[in-house]
């Protein structure tokens, strides 16, 4: 009986010893793999490349709004209808074929005339006198003037001036919708600063981005090849690509974006790529890529690439 138990113990001990050795083996194997990857990583290079394309704006957008405010809702509606009709008729009378008028959001709000309470400091009896609340109705319109890439600057300025004058003469408000303006006014006070009235837009934004990508990659590859040559090795295939491009712009102003970021209120970016600027001029499209190439004999050598380039 004793001999059997001794044998069993020995078997168990072997099993336990084997099991104890397993993690060690695994660890060793992992270390070996990691070190080989390190060795492999050490064999690649990471470079960045920036592509910049200058895009000429193709159309200009001017946001206006037809507003109305009155204590009686019926009055507000009548005023709104008149305001919208006059505003759209005024632009239609200009007979500009390249001009389109887009009707956008309609808003209803309640307001107090006179600007509200203002900044009430600790002044005895400093409460603002009560005013009757009003109904505000506002329709946002977007004027889109196309074909500006074919226009001379002077002619464009005159045309934009005509549009702005027409809007003001018709009683429309130029600028962002009332909700955005109210938000800015509330958060930034009266010193909200000037806001742009005109937005220049590039139509074929995706094509411009594509070109910028190509440029960025080409630059990255060129740098990588130079480095590989210096290292005396061949440049291998692409291991990874990481984009560090500028965030796509939306329609909101910098101030509102800041407020939205900090306080989480205001309009969210609409998504999609739009190339816009509040200045008339070429709009830069910039893309930055970080590309990791492998090094070694597996890929094309730098001399092979030079031959290819010369062809």
């Amino acid at each position: 009986m004793r001999r059997t138990s001794n044998l069993g113990n020995e078997c168990r001990n072997r099993v336990w010893r084997g099991a104890a050795r397993m993690p060690l083996a695994l660890t060793l194997a992992a270390c070996l793999a990691w070190s080989s990857s390190l060795v492999a990583a050490e064999k690649g290079i990471t470079v960045s490349g920036t592509g910049e394309v200058l895009a000429k704006p193709t159309h200009v957008e001017i946001d206006v709004s037809a507003n109305a405010a009155a204590e009686l809702t019926a009055d507000a509606i009548q005023k709104y209808r008149d305001s919208l009709r006059r505003t759209t008729e005024a632009f239609e009378k200009l007979d500009m074929k390249a001009l389109k008028i887009e009707q956008r959001e309609l808003s209803f709000a309640s307001s107090t005339p006179g600007g509200g309470a203002g900044m009430v400091l600790a002044v005895p009896g400093g409460a603002a006198p009560a005013a009757k609340p009003q109904v505000d109705i506002s329709r946002s319109l977007r004027l889109v003037l196309g074909g500006i890439d074919q226009m001379e600057e002077a002619a464009l300025m005159e045309t934009i001036g005509t549009l702005l004058d027409t809007a003001r003469d018709a009683g429309a408000t130029i600028g962002q919708s009332s909700s955005s303006s109210a938000l800015l006014a509330q958060m930034m006070g009266r010193q909200a600063g000037s806001t742009s009235m005109v937005t220049f837009v590039v139509d074929n934004a995706s094509q411009q981005h594509e070109k910028a990508y190509q440029q960025a990659f080409a630059e990255a590859k060129s740098r990588a090849m130079r480095l590989a040559k210096l290292a005396g090795t061949a440049l291998g295939p692409v291991i990874s690509i990481e984009e560090a491009a500028d965030a796509p712009k939306d329609d909101t102003s910098v101030q509102e974006q800041l407020i939205t970021t900090i306080y989480g209120i205001g309009s969210k970016p609409k998504g999609g790529i739009r190339l816009t600027s509040d200045k008339f001029g070429d709009i830069p499209v910039r893309v930055t890529l970080r590309v990791r190439f492998s090094l070694g004999s597996q890929g094309t050598s730098s001399s092979d690439d030079e031959e290819e380039d010369s062809k």
Binding site: E71, A74, R86, F108, G118, M119, G125, P129, K132
Partner: protein, 687 residues
């Protein structure tokens, strides 16, 4: 999305159609108590115990306890007869009128009881009504014993006395009281109707005349009356008066009928001339006055100086500097002092100017001004004066600082020259919340009468030039002067006696003397009341309500919500037109808003013009010419004053005059040559 928006709008629209504009309220709780602390302006009202006595009277009448009712009435009669008591519709009437009405409305049993109590006293008074005491005794009978057996005869005689004295309104009141409250009177009804009709015709109340003429024509055709010792056919006599009036109306130029021909705005921007009051550099200084101190834009930065014209000259009151410019050439004819350093003086002392208190009127060869001495520019608390100048030469006449009994008065509002008198509002020095109306002799400034109009909740002298203070607007019609305090009350005052005829406290924001840093500055307009066909239309400076009062009653006909920045431009029979940030047309029958046109408004000192088919408003972007039919812009005339804020429009014998915060500019306009120039004396130059 668009469909949803339109559905939403349709729902709103449907619900909005169900909205009803405010008609004349049967009982306006907040306006019924003239001493309500929530009211921004208090009219001089009857003492509370007299009001309670009147309420007791009504209560006892309802119960039929006549003795107690008449005892209560004795208390009412003991009170001040001209003090105002609120009526059900919100108007405040002199107690004497309400008393007369209350007696006249007694049931038959009550009247019988009243005669039992008071007939003897009335007869004694009637018998004593002779010689020098005749009027006084008759007035006592008319106000306190009207329903006694001698009341109707006393009223008739009193009416005759007033007629002979030229007080047509009072005469008509006496005769019409008999017609309305004493139908059982033995006096010939047709004679009372004819006399009333003649009185109202002479008072210019042609709407009422038409109604009386109709009654005579329908019910008393063929009857004769004795007038001036002669027997005349009643209906035919009134018909002849009406025909004469019609003939005069047709032959009068359109401007005199209150309907001006449309202006053909010039095709070119070049003016006939331009007189620059404030240079570009000075304009920039004025535009930013007070901004560094956090006061926002001060009234003085947006002010348009008051201006009036006659046939030859334009006159301006530039913060106390008076000047006259020739309408043909634009040449400066005279000035009271050099004003080249005005802007610098204002910058040295930005506050305390109260530009809204300066005013002008021209009547005949006299220029009237409400002003402060230029040596006191910007000194708060210094009183404003009224003075007269020779319009042609600028030679000064008297002013209230040189008249002993006027030195205690701080003059406010527009002066109203009326022949040998000038009417103006004022407060006593140191009592800026109390508003009075003064009648002064035009020749020497002698104070003829003064009437206390009421009390504002805020002392207007303590606005310190940081906010626009309330300056009354005066207009005259039918022997009365109507004063919109722009502080929440309108009063009617008898021109001859200065007595308060009636008043109304209207919906208006409470003014606030306090001012905090960065508080938004409001753009306010202050237009004068307008009387058209015996109806008075007005809107106070801080009020979001437009009111219509039938002067025949008087009675509040309707009130309506409007923009606070609106001011009344005119009425053309079917519609009423408002100016301001929104130029609007309101249908007079339905009170619906017919159209609205938004125009830029950079200053509240605007004075638009209405013609037969157009409305014109001078703005910072030019002169808008709007079609009265639909509000569409017919033309936007840029003009030669585009760096200004807009302002006043005046139609002159030479064309169109624009007066802005910077310049006076004249444009030749076809069709206005040799036509009467606009008179600004009735409405006041400072809008």
């Amino acid at each position: 999305m668009a469909t949803a928006s339109w559905l939403t709008l349709a729902v709103w629209s449907a619900s909005a159609r169900a909205q009803v504009v405010l008609e004349a309220p049967a009982a306006v709780a907040e306006e019924a108590n003239p001493n309500d602390p929530k009211l921004p302006f208090h009219l001089p009202s009857q003492s509370s115990d007299v009001k309670e006595a009147l309420d007791d009277f009504h209560r006892f009448v309802a119960k039929g306890t006549w003795e107690r009712a008449f005892k209560a009435l004795d208390k009412v009669q003991a009170g001040f007869p001209n003090a105002l008591t609120p009526r059900e519709d919100g108007l405040l009437m002199p107690t004497r009128m309400l008393l007369r009405q209350a007696l006249a409305e007694l049931p038959a049993a009550g009247k019988q009881a009243y005669r039992l109590f008071h007939d003897a006293d009335a007869k004694v008074l009637f018998d004593e009504a002779k010689g020098k005491e005749e009027t006084e005794k008759l007035v006592k009978i008319f106000s306190s014993y009207f329903i006694t057996t001698v009341g109707d005869v006393a009223a008739d005689r009193l009416g005759d006395i007033y007629f002979e004295q030229g007080d047509m309104d009072q005469a008509a009141e006496c005769w019409q009281a008999v017609l309305q409250y004493r139908p059982e009177s033995a006096l010939p009804r047709v004679r009372l109707l004819v006399k009333s009709a003649i009185a109202v015709a002479r008072s210019g109340r042609w709407d009422e005349f038409a109604e009386l003429r109709r009654q005579v024509g329908e019910r008393h055709q063929g009857e004769m009356v004795v007038l001036g010792g002669k027997q005349v056919p009643a209906a035919a006599h009134l018909e002849s008066i009406w025909n004469e009036h019609e003939a005069e109306s047709k032959s009068a130029p359109a401007a005199e009928k209150g309907v001006r021909a449309d202006l053909a705005l010039p095709a070119t921007l070049d003016p006939a001339w331009q007189f620059r009051m404030i240079g570009p550099r000075e304009a920039q200084m004025l535009a930013t006055l007070g901004q560094n101190w956090g006061w926002g834009r001060l009234p003085v930065s947006e002010m348009v100086p008051p201006a009036v014209v006659d046939g030859q000259r334009a006159y301006v009151n530039l913060l106390g500097y008076h000047l006259a410019v020739d309408l043909k050439s634009g040449k400066l004819l005279w000035r009271s002092a050099k004003f080249h350093d005005l802007a610098q003086k204002m910058q040295n002392n930005p506050q305390g100017h109260s530009p809204e208190q300066f005013n002008l009127a021209v009547a005949g060869d006299t220029l009237w001004s409400v002003f402060r001495d230029v040596q006191q520019l910007g000194q708060p608390g210094q009183p404003f004066r009224i003075g007269r100048w020779e319009a042609a030469t600028g030679k000064p006449g008297w002013n209230s600082s040189t008249v002993a009994e006027l030195q205690e008065w701080n003059i406010r509002g527009n002066p109203l020259p009326l022949g040998d008198r000038v009417i103006v509002a004022a407060s006593k020095n140191g009592q800026g919340a109390e508003l009075h109306l003064l009648s002064l002799a035009a020749a020497d400034g002698k104070l003829l009468w003064s009437t206390h109009l009421g009390t504002s909740q805020a002392d207007q002298n303590q606005m310190w030039g940081i906010q626009r203070s309330e300056q009354p607007s005066l207009v005259t019609y039918g022997g009365k002067v109507y004063v919109d305090t722009h502080a929440g009350a309108l009063v009617a005052v008898d021109l001859r006696t200065g007595s308060l005829d009636w008043g109304l406290t209207y919906d208006s924001e409470m003014p606030d003397n306090n001012r905090w840093w960065g508080a938004p500055q409001e753009t306010l307009t202050a237009g004068p009341p307008l009387v058209v066909e015996n109806k008075l239309y007005f809107k106070g400076m801080r009020s979001p309500r437009l009111y219509c009062i039938d002067l025949a009653g008087p009675a509040l006909v309707w009130k309506r919500e409007v923009n606070k920045t609106s001011l009344v431009i005119g009425v053309d029979g079917e519609r009423l037109y408002l100016g301001g940030a929104d130029v609007e047309a309101i249908d007079l029958k339905t009170r619906k808003l017919k159209w609205s046109a938004h125009v830029p408004m950079a200053t509240g000192w605007i004075r638009p013009v209405m013609t037969e088919h157009r409305v014109y408003q001078f703005t910072s972007r030019g002169v808008y010419e709007l079609d009265k039919a639909n509000g569409d812009t017919v033309k936007l005339f840029r003009g030669a004053d585009l760096d200004s804020l807009g302002g006043t429009l005046l139609v002159t014998s030479q064309g169109l005059l624009t007066v802005s915060n910077l310049s006076i500019t004249s444009y030749r306009v076809d069709g206005v040559a040799d036509k009467p120039a606009e008179s600004a004396s009735a409405a006041g130059a400072n809008p």
